[in-house]
Every structure is written in C-alpha cells, then in structure tokens.
C-alpha cells in the first residue's frame, strides 16, 4: 500500500455512512474557518491596545512639554513684570500661576508610572509658586529691588531645576514611546506570521480532507464500475475489492453477490446448453447407424445382389431410398447445427481451388436443374488464386445455395459467378425465382426459418441449411447475405477471405 493510500483506506474503513463522513469533513472545515477568524480578531484587538497605549504616551509627552513651556513662560512673565511693576502686569503673573496649577493637575492625571519623579516635580512647583507669589507681593508693596533679588536668587535656579526634571520626564516618556512602537512592530510581524501559518494550515488540511474523502468514494466507485463492465462482458470470475464500510462497501458486496449468482446461473445455462448439444450430437449419431443399414441394404437390393428385382418393387425401393436420404439430410443438418452451437465444429483448412468447388456443386445439381428445365450457368473470372479454408464445408454451403435456387425457381436460369475482390473471393448465386421480401431476408439465415413454413413441407429441407451456411461462412471470417425483391429473383452473395481466419462464433 502506498503512503497516499493509507489515509484513504483509513477513511474508507471508517464504519460510517458517506453522508456522515462528508458532514464531518465540512464541519472540520467550518471549525477551521471559525478558529482562523477568532485568532485574527484576537490579534487585531492586541494591535488596537498597542495603538491606544501609544496614544496615551503621546498625550503624556504633550502634557510634560506644556509644563516645561509654562515654567519658562512663568519666569519670563515675572522678569518682565519686575521691569515695570504695575497692577496689570502683576495680575497677569498671578493668573499664569493659576494656569500652572491646572497643568500640574493634568500631569497627575496622565502619569502614573513615573510617580516618584512627579512628586518631586510637584514639590518643586509648589515651592516655585510660593516664591513667585512672594516676588509679586514684594513688587506690589514697592520693594522692587528686594523682589528682583528674590527672583534672581531663588526663582531662577528653581526654574532651571524644574526644567531639568520635566525634561527627564519627557525623555522617559519618549523612551517608552520608542519601546512601544518597536513592540507594536514586532507584535504586528508575529500576528502576520500566525495568520499566514493558520491560513496555510487550514488550506492544506481542507485540501487533504477533500482529497482523502473524494478518493475514498471515487476508488470504490471506479472499482465497482470496472467490475460491472467485466460482468457485462461475461466475466464472472473476479470480485470487486472494496474496503469501505459504508454504502459503497455494501454496494460492492451486493455487486459481488449478484456476480456470483449470475456466474452460477451462467454456468448452469452453459452446462445445459452443452448437454443439449451433446445430446443432439449423440442422438443424431445413433439415428444414423440404423439408417446407414437401411440405405445400404436398399442399394444392395437395387443392384441385384440378392437376386433379380421386379420393376414394381424397384419403384418402391427408389421411394425408400429417397425418403431415407431425406431423413439422413435432416439428421445431418441437426447434427451440424448442434456441433456449431456447442463450438465443436472445427474447420479443417487446406488450399483449394474455388472453380473445382463450383464444378463439384454443378455436377451434383445439374441433373436436378435439367429435370425442371432450368439453365445452370457458371461465370468464373479466371485466373483465380488458390483459396485457403475448409473445402468440404464451403462445398456444403454452395451446394445448399444452388440447391435452394433450383428448388425455388420454376423457370429461367441459375447463374454462379465467381470473382476476386480486394480481400478475397466473391461468389454469387443468382436465380430467377419468386424472390424474397425484405423482412424475410434476414430471417432466412436464422434456425428453422423459411419464407413460410408451408414451403418447408412443399420443398423439403429442414430450414437449417442457410443457418448452417451462415455459421460456416462466419467461421471462415466471411460474410453471406441476399439481395432480392419479390418477383425479381434472388442473389445470394458469399464473400470469403483468401485466408480463412479461425473465428470463434459468438454464442
């Protein structure tokens, strides 16, 4: 068993109906599709989460930058307020302080992981706000020089420190972002491979399933089909080998049972037919033995071996001889046909001259033709090559054709024509008799058929002659047929191959 056959045999041997197997295969494919979908969805939501994380990081970075910007803005505002301290500019500084507080709240909301750093930033900012307030208070109360001093000595360095801290925060967030992008790229590549792998796996599995299932069906069907063809051809010897344990398995078993039964019946039929043929052959042989004695003794009496025969008795003896010969003809025909049907007629082939056969036939029949006042003519296109076949059987066929022509023709002539054709010899026996109607032209070559049964009685003969002639000609690999029309005579054609090919007759 080839490797490919293993899964097929496995599926075939599974004791389930074909329908169930197909359903299981389709279900398996559906499950694969669903699984593929689920994996895809999961990967998609993973990618989505990554994207959301990146967006959050981006927001955080923006918030840090805002804080940084605010710090610088604050310093600048305080510095410019101190250059020309009046109520309007100082109010602006205090408003900016409030905005600062809001930005810091937002920072708290956004950042969770860098808590430590943030706490420090918050503390520094609180201090920064405190210092700026003091500077503003000092400026309001007219102590400008003192305010400038506080600003330079305390607010300036604090602002630098704050800027450094926020920078650190931004850097941290940016590093997170870069890491996040990288991770998301990797995740995407992984997802791609997972989806492709899963899809490829599904395709291979689906194709494999389809292949295995369909072959587990096709193979037994082909096997059964082949077996049925052989059964139709008459071969009952072999069995359909199907391993399936499903409907196809039981179909094959049914076909095998039918084949066995048919084979048995065929054998019985053949045996019966053989017995019939053997019985006929034996019977006709047994019948001929006493007939031989009757005909022999008649001839001896006619020849005066037992004394002078009076004229009256001589006429009776002629009738005895005539009837005896007729009976002999009947028996011979039955024997011939039964031998042909039993497949026991074997041609004994030799080289022979067709004209010699024609002359033999004419010699045997010319007296009969002359008696009825018929012309018997021969037209032979000489020179003819030698033929190869069973000369005695071909003589028998031609004798039958010419004998029939004489029998059925009341006036006119009978012509025997012989010529060569591309593939052998063509012999035609033409008469000027009553002719044969079209529907009868095929039937007359069947057993026990003459145009009508009354003519059998009237003209004598068994009605087997043409059937036997046809079989003999076919055994030679030749053909025989008739061309005729009612009232316009009949022509029997005989085509024989130059070399008789031993043919087995189809039963």
């Amino acid at each position: 068993m080839r490797l490919r056959d293993l899964p097929i045999a496995l599926v075939a041997r599974t004791p389930a109906r074909v329908q169930t197997k197909l359903l299981a295969a389709f279900l398996a494919m559906v499950v694969l599709l669903v699984a593929l979908g689920a994996v895809g969805l999961r990967l998609l939501s993973g990618v989505n989460q990554q994207t959301e994380g990146l967006i959050k990081l981006q927001r955080k970075i923006a918030a840090y930058r805002q804080v940084q910007h605010d710090t610088t803005g604050q310093l600048y505002a305080v510095a410019s307020a101190l250059l020309s301290p009046n109520e309007r500019t100082l109010e602006g500084v205090l408003r900016q302080l409030a905005q600062f507080g809001y930005d810091l709240d937002r920072l708290q909301f956004v950042a969770k992981d860098e808590i430590e750093l943030l706490v420090e930033v918050r503390k520094e900012y609180d201090r920064f706000i405190e210092i700026v307030r003091r500077v503003v208070e000092l400026a309001r109360s007219g102590h400008a020089a003192e305010a400038r001093q506080v600003q330079q000595a305390e607010a300036g360095p604090l602002a630098d420190r704050l800027e450094r801290l926020t920078n650190e925060l931004v850097n941290l967030a940016e590093a997170d972002m870069v890491a996040g992008i990288e991770a998301s790229e990797q995740a995407y590549a992984r997802s791609t491979w997972i989806v492709i792998g899963f899809a490829l796996g599904s395709i291979v599995l689906a194709l494999g399933l389809g292949y295995v299932i369909s072959w587990s069906v096709i193979e037994p069907v082909a096997e059964i089909e082949g077996r049925l063809r052989r059964i139709a051809g008459g071969d009952f010897t072999q069995r359909a080998r199907v391993v399936n344990r499903d409907e196809l398995g039981s179909l094959a078993a049914g076909v095998n049972r039918m084949c066995e039964e048919l084979g048995r019946l065929y054998e019985q039929l053949e045996a019966a037919s053989r017995h019939k043929s053997e019985f006929l052959a034996n019977t006709s042989h047994e019948l001929r033995t006493p007939l031989n004695a009757i005909l022999g003794y008649t001839e001896l009496i006619q020849d005066g071996i037992y004394g002078e025969v009076p004229e009256r008795i001589r006429a009776v003896l002629d009738r005895v001889q005539g009837s005896g010969r007729h009976l002999l003809g009947l028996i011979n025909d039955v024997l011939d046909l039964s031998k042909i049907e039993a497949g026991r007629l074997v041609l004994s082939t030799n080289d022979y001259a067709v004209p010699a056969v024609v002359h033999t036939v004419v010699t045997a029949t010319e007296a009969l033709a002359a008696e009825k006042g018929l012309d018997l003519r021969i037209e032979i296109a000489e020179p003819l090559p030698l033929a190869h076949g069973d000369e005695r059987r071909i003589t028998q066929v031609l004798l039958n054709l010419v004998g029939n022509a004489i029998k059925f023709t009341e006036e006119g002539e009978i012509v025997i024509r012989v010529e060569t054709t591309d593939d052998g010899f063509h012999i035609a026996v033409e008469d000027t008799g009553p002719g044969i109607a079209l529907p009868d032209q095929k039937r007359i070559f069947e057993e026990f058929r003459q145009v009508d049964s009354s003519s059998t009685r009237r003209k004598g003969g068994t009605g087997l002659g043409l059937a036997i002639a046809k079989r003999i000609v076919e055994l030679h690999g030749g053909r025989i047929w008739v061309e005729s029309a009612l009232g316009r005579g009949a022509t029997f054609h005989l085509v024989l191959p130059r070399q008789a090919v031993a043919q087995r007759l189809a039963a």
């Binding site: 042989h285 022999g296 001896l300 026991r344 007629l345």
Partner: protein, 124 residues
Amino acid sequence: MKRRILVVEDQEDNRAILRDLLTHAGFEVLEALTGEEGVRMAEVLRPDLVLMDIQLPAVDGYEATRRIKAQPSLRAIPIIAVTSYALSGDELKAEAAGCDGYVTKPFSPRRLLAIVRGYLEGAG
C-alpha cells in the same frame, strides 16, 4: 486367387452389408469385431486391403491402423478408414494414423466398391 479384404467393424448390420457387397463382387471377406482382433488377423492372414471402422470399443480404428502400419511387412496393405459422418478433423486424424483412404458413413455401397477396386487395381 480371390483378393482378400479384412473388414474391422463391430456393428453386425454394417458388417453384413459389407460382407454381402464384397462377396458378391468376388472378394473373400475376413471379419474382425475389435481393433485388437483386426491387428492380429492382419498379421496372420495378410489381407490385400483393410476396411477399418474408426469407432471401435477399447482400441479404436486409429490405434489399430497405427499398429498395423508400424509393422514393415504389413505397411504396404492399403487401409481405408470408415468413420461416422465426419466430425471435422477426422480426415486429418485418419491420415495421421496412416490410413490410405477415407470413407464417411453413411456410405453408398456402390461408391465404396468403386473405391476398394481403385485401390486394389492401383496396387496391381
């Protein structure tokens, strides 16, 4: 001297016809009922011709012919096979067994006589 013809034939009727026919024609007729008897009589009596039936019990006509033809001193005796209405191929089998001629049953006594005379005259 009368020519002697050995008839090997198991059926009484056929033997009687041949006896009457050949005796009337002026031959001396010797009769054997089986193949073995035929061979023995051929050896002892040296007939001028043998009419050999083919369908004989035990040793058939082919075998009897082979045994006679196997003996150099008898080889020259013409043997004519008399068979049943020809099963095709009998002719060839008869020839292979060494028969000189071949007549199918039912035979016409007239024609058989002509054949027998032909062989004896041909042989001198």
